[in-house]
């Protein structure tokens, strides 16, 4: 008789603790964040999100579970199939929720592996997901806008998904109960401007920002546009003037300092679900 007992027992144990393939849990995890769900299933009637509007929402766990269950229902025909699905249901969903919780993080290259591990915890309350949906030209015209989300006690919440559903519709899914959110422009798209044009239209004024602390120094000096009525800035003369006013050495005023001086403050707006 040629039987290896150890081998048999190992096989049995493995079959009990069958690992769920990552392809399955990952896909279900992202599906739970509505990735791939057609927009008309999310917004069944356009009156629910007219142009230029913002809405807060709760994510219905029943809808999400139904969606996931439908996906997992493939090859569920016999009684045995059903029992198998019942048996693995909790573990599969726990793992999928983990993927969902780290979905956004997984899109970025992990720069620090050690902090990664501490944050890949199970989600304490996977059923309480909320969010906002924004439909505005701002979404289209200001790519890279940034969003911070807060709970009622002002604690910053974690964003699970922040993506465009269409060119002008942005959806944000938040872990926990969303109370307020701040939307601001992208720092890389901070734009450049002057403070005021003189009454005669021949010159302009520009306040200065100290390069170390970024404090605003008001400037009363009028700088003239280049010849002609085209409102063209004399860039090198302007930067030379700025360098002098900030009393910086000649080689310490490059395009980086110039950009810092010319940017206008970051625009930020807050919305709250309390109405």
């Amino acid at each position: 008789m040629n039987l290896n007992i150890n081998n048999i027992t190992e096989n049995f144990i493995f079959s009990e603790n069958e690992e769920i393939p990552l392809d399955i849990t990952n896909w279900i995890g992202t599906l739970k964040l509505l990735v791939g769900v057609p927009i008309n299933y999310i917004i069944p009637n356009i009156n629910m999100l007219p142009p230029e509007s913002i809405r807060f929402f709760y994510l219905d766990p029943n809808w999400i579970e139904s969606l996931a269950d439908g996906a997992l229902s493939l090859c569920r025909v016999t009684n045995l199939d059903h029992q198998v699905d019942v048996f693995h249901h909790n573990m599969l969903h726990a793992q999928a929720n983990k993927t969902a919780a780290n979905y956004r993080k997984s899109l970025f290259k992990s720069t620090n592996k050690s902090t990664d591990n501490t944050e890949t915890e199970d989600d304490p309350n996977p059923d309480l997901l909320t969010g906002f949906i924004l439909r505005s030209l701002v979404v289209k015209d200001y790519p890279g806008i940034e969003v911070n989300v807060y709970a009622k006690n002002n604690e910053e919440l974690k964003i699970r998904r922040l993506e465009k559903l269409s060119p002008d519709i942005l959806i944000g899914i938040v872990q926990g109960e969303l109370y307020s959110l701040k939307i601001h422009q992208a720092p890389e798209a901070l734009h450049f401007g002057i403070d005021c044009i003189t009454d005669d239209g021949k010159g302009f004024k520009k306040n200065l920002r100290t390069t170390d602390e970024g404090k605003i120094k008001e400037s009363q000096k009028v700088i003239h546009f280049r010849e002609g009525d085209k409102k063209v800035l004399p860039i090198s003369a302007l930067s030379e003037q700025m360098r002098e006013d900030l009393s910086l050495p000649k080689d310490k005023f490059t395009s980086a300092e110039f950009a810092l001086e010319m940017i206008e403050g970051l625009k930020l707006i807050e919305f709250s679900s309390d109405q």
């Binding site: 008789m1 049995f12 144990i13 009990e16 069958e18 769920i20 393939p21 399955i24 791939g36 769900v37 299933y41 069944p44 509007s53 913002i54 809405r55 807060f56 709760y58 219905d60 766990p61 809808w63 999400i64 139904s66 969606l67 996931a68 269950d69 439908g70 229902s73 493939l74 045995l80 199939d81 198998v84 249901h89 899109l107 969010g131 505005s136 015209d141 200001y142 790519p143 806008i145 940034e146 922040l162 993506e163 601001h184 992208a186 890389e188 734009h191 450049f192 401007g193 044009i197 085209k230 409102k231 063209v232 860039i235 395009s255 980086a256 110039f258 010319m262 206008e264 625009k267 930020l268």
Partner: protein, 469 residues
């Protein structure tokens, strides 16, 4: 407004490419000398390669954003237009002036500039010209460049020189886009070299709070949390109540024709137009009314603030009112029997917190269709979701195949386990004094079986051994 947000943006003067565009020639030589054997051999190998970058077009994926946005309307009269590129070295990949003084390499001027024109200014746009059309007629007879128009290669005099001014792989027939600017206008707008040095910079920002932009380029590693962007700023304010068009033009090797520091023109007297290549253009309207990021968001419709159908004062039906308040909306429903009716549907986004009450798995979507006997209407929300999940799963091959194989394996194992159970139930029950096996958890049960099986087997084998002896 609540407390300030904290974040970091780094401004850098420039990010120079490590290799400049052009053809490179590498030669490696190694000499081997062995004194005693009087060997003195030289081995040599040569290789040529080229660093190629686009100079007549820009890949649209490399444009992150433009400001003011294309076709937008707003109060832009005090802001300078700019373009944000994801290719961080782009503005410094080529050179403006052929003759570079030593200090220039430290503070390199951008070869790209933004020129803004209004609709009143007569700038001729040439959308279908060839690279050859930038050369004067006397050196490229096929060129359509008029004699009174100046372009990049005006100083050339011999046809043989054309080759030197084409990049590796470039042909005279390559198509490109250009604009012809009247010389007066050109002189009023064009920045000087020192201006160009100030008009491009690099910005490094953390992008973890953003909606994902580069979704298509996602590699398995993900994208960096910090991103570099190169930014080019225009030098002219938009004109109010007019349509303003901005061109991203190339000033490569054009340094000789750019004005001096006091903006004195260096364009020869006999030229009436300047032809410049452009890589991107966009237009916007500047108006007096306050329309910008902040005002647009301030004016957003926030009623109702939760996600549901807006209430209508004309609505008298209480059932409808209630359904709307709970986030439902009526949708046409073609029933299986062919009837046309309507049913309630609510998507995943709901206006109030709902606790989980369903208990999957379900055998079919009908198990999730809810019926209200009072109204005689169906709520198909969850059934729809279930059916959608099934369709999405079927259309994702990698998922459905993995799921199929995995389930098949599970079933085989389950079958295997249950046949073991049949075999060993009685023995184990007797041995462990178990009256009701079903009370045991599956895991406990399994370990008992396995232990039992192990013992039996080793006893059996020992017996065999003894016998064999």
């Amino acid at each position: 407004m609540a407390e300030e947000l904290k974040g970091k943006v780094t401004f850098t003067q420039h990010l120079l490419p490590s290799l400049e565009t052009g053809k490179y020639h590498i030669s490696v030589e190694q000499t081997v000398k062995i004194d005693k054997k009087s060997v003195n051999d030289t081995f040599k190998t040569e290789n040529t390669f080229a660093v190629v970058t686009e100079r007549t077009k820009i890949n649209p994926a490399e444009i992150h954003s433009v400001f003011p946005a294309d076709n937008s309307v707003g109060d832009f009269q005090q802001t300078l237009p700019h373009i944000v590129l994801t290719r961080s070295t782009f503005p410094w990949e080529r050179i403006v002036a052929n003759t570079i003084p030593e200090e220039e390499s430290k503070d390199k001027a951008s070869w790209l500039a933004l020129l803004l024109f209004t609709e009143e200014e007569t700038v001729a746009e040439l959308n279908t010209i060839k690279l050859g059309d930038l050369f004067p007629k006397q050196i490229n007879p096929q060129s359509n460049l008029p004699d009174d128009t100046l372009s990049y290669f005006d100083s050339l005099s011999k046809p043989e020189e054309i080759g030197k001014h084409l990049d590796y792989g470039e042909m005279l027939d390559d198509s490109c886009q250009a604009i012809d600017i009247p010389v007066n206008l050109f002189n009023m707008l064009i920045p000087c070299i020192n201006d160009l040095k100030k008009l491009a910079h690099l910005r490094t920002v953390n992008i973890t709070k953003k909606e994902m932009i580069k979704k298509n380029n996602l590699s398995s590693e993900g994208i960096d949390e910090e991103a570099n962007f190169s930014i080019i700023i225009g030098n002219r304010l938009p004109q109010i109540n007019q349509r303003n068009t901005v061109y991203l033009v190339s000033l490569e090797n054009f340094g000789g024709f750019l004005p001096d520091e006091n903006y004195n023109s260096k364009i020869p007297q006999n030229k009436k137009n300047i032809r410049l290549l452009f890589l991107k253009k966009w237009s916007f309207n500047a108006v007096k009314e306050e329309i910008n990021f902040l005002s647009t968001l301030k004016n957003l419709n926030q009623k109702p603030i939760t996600f549901k159908m807006p209430e209508n004062s004309m609505m008298t039906n209480e059932t409808l009112k209630k359904a709307f308040a709970f986030g439902f909306c009526p949708l046409p429903h073609h029933s299986r029997s062919g009837d046309k009716t309507f049913s309630w549907y609510r998507g995943p986004l709901v206006p109030y917190q709902i606790k989980k009450f369903i208990a999957p798995p379900y055998p079919c979507s009908d198990a999730l269709t809810l019926y209200n006997p009072k109204t005689g209407l169906l709520n198909t929300s969850y059934a729809t979701a279930w059916q959608l999940g099934r369709l999405l799963a079927l259309s994702t091959k990698s998922f459905s195949q993995t799921l199929y194989n995995w389930k098949k394996k599970l079933k085989q194992n389950a079958y295997h386990l249950s046949s073991c159970k049949k075999l060993l139930t009685n023995t184990v029950a007797q041995k462990h004094n178990l009256n009701n096996i079903s009370l045991l958890t599956k895991k406990n049960y399994l370990s008992i079986i396995i232990d039992d099986f192990k013992q039996n087997m080793s006893a059996f084998l020992n017996q065999k051994k003894v016998k064999g002896k």
